[in-house]
Amino acid sequence: MSDKAYSSADDSALVRAAQNGDMGAFEELVARHRDKIYARAYSMMRNEDEALDLSQEAWVKAWQRLKQFQGESSFATWMTRITINLCLDQLRRQKRQRSESIEAMDEESGGVERQMPVVNVNPTEGLERGELRQRIDQALSQLTYAHRTVIVLHEFEEMEYKEIAKTMGCSIGTVMSRLFYARRKMAALLSDLKRPE
């Protein structure tokens, strides 16, 4: 396949070629989806270097497991799942090294979010798109890893509760609880960020 043929081929044709050992076809897939894969790793890890390393590791894993890809989902979805799993493994390893027992309890039972008053105004109203993105980014970085992960999986990956539970290795009840308190914390953080200093 020539360079021109690679760029005009659709993902499934490139995947078939790559499954037969065509490295050029795989390179084209990397070029097409690299931003999304990196962005997903970054949204979970909140660290540029880790996101780069993990996204590259995900591509290496994808090449090694390419024969297992049967096309039940899109290639981009399959790649994103590999990336998410690698990020979750890394976050679990990091969490084991830290002492987060109180924080872990709060993730499921709510902690201070239980006592928080409801935010009555829309904290994002009247903001420029760029400013809004910056504030959300800032608020996301203040969440615990479990809260952030559940937000990323539900809001960005549009996974259902059941799928999130399977991915995170917890019950649907835990997912509902984490998502609820993560959203409440996000609401509080966004309203705090909106207040003039």
């Binding site: 690299r34 931003d35 780069l52 590791e57 591509w59 290496v60 959203r183």
Partner: protein, 171 residues
Amino acid sequence: MKEELQFKLQAHLDGELPAAETREVAKWIAQDAEARALFAELKNTRGALKVFESEIRLPESREFYWSKIQREIARSEKPQTTEKPSWLASWLRRFLVPAGALAALVIASMLIMHQLPVRTALGEPESVSAFADSEAFTYRDYSTGMTLVWLSYPAENGFAEVLPSDTLGYE
């Protein structure tokens, strides 16, 4: 408000409630101000996050990013093709090397055993040799393993001059 009801509000927002419960929760939101306020907060937060569709871009060029992936793929595939030793090499390593070492040891032992009786039988318990350059004589007694060295005195070369007056040396 009970936690269970709060979670129901959220499930309603996410479309995860069964049809019968959906109607029930919708009715509750319409009637209860507290439920309505919490529902609005959850909805606003979700709305904000929907707007935030990440526009994060990879901070490396396509070529540089790909080169690292390519290198890693090559590295991960290398051991499968080159590191596996052939059956012959592993057989040689396992049996032939120790057998060779053992054979060498046996041969060396046999030679030593063979040499000793011959020297004794030939009546060769000792030997004498002279070195013309240094005017030194050596005497070797094989039965005791002792060697004596005589150096001439007064010495005619520089080397012997630095030796102490007692010029007998033992090995």
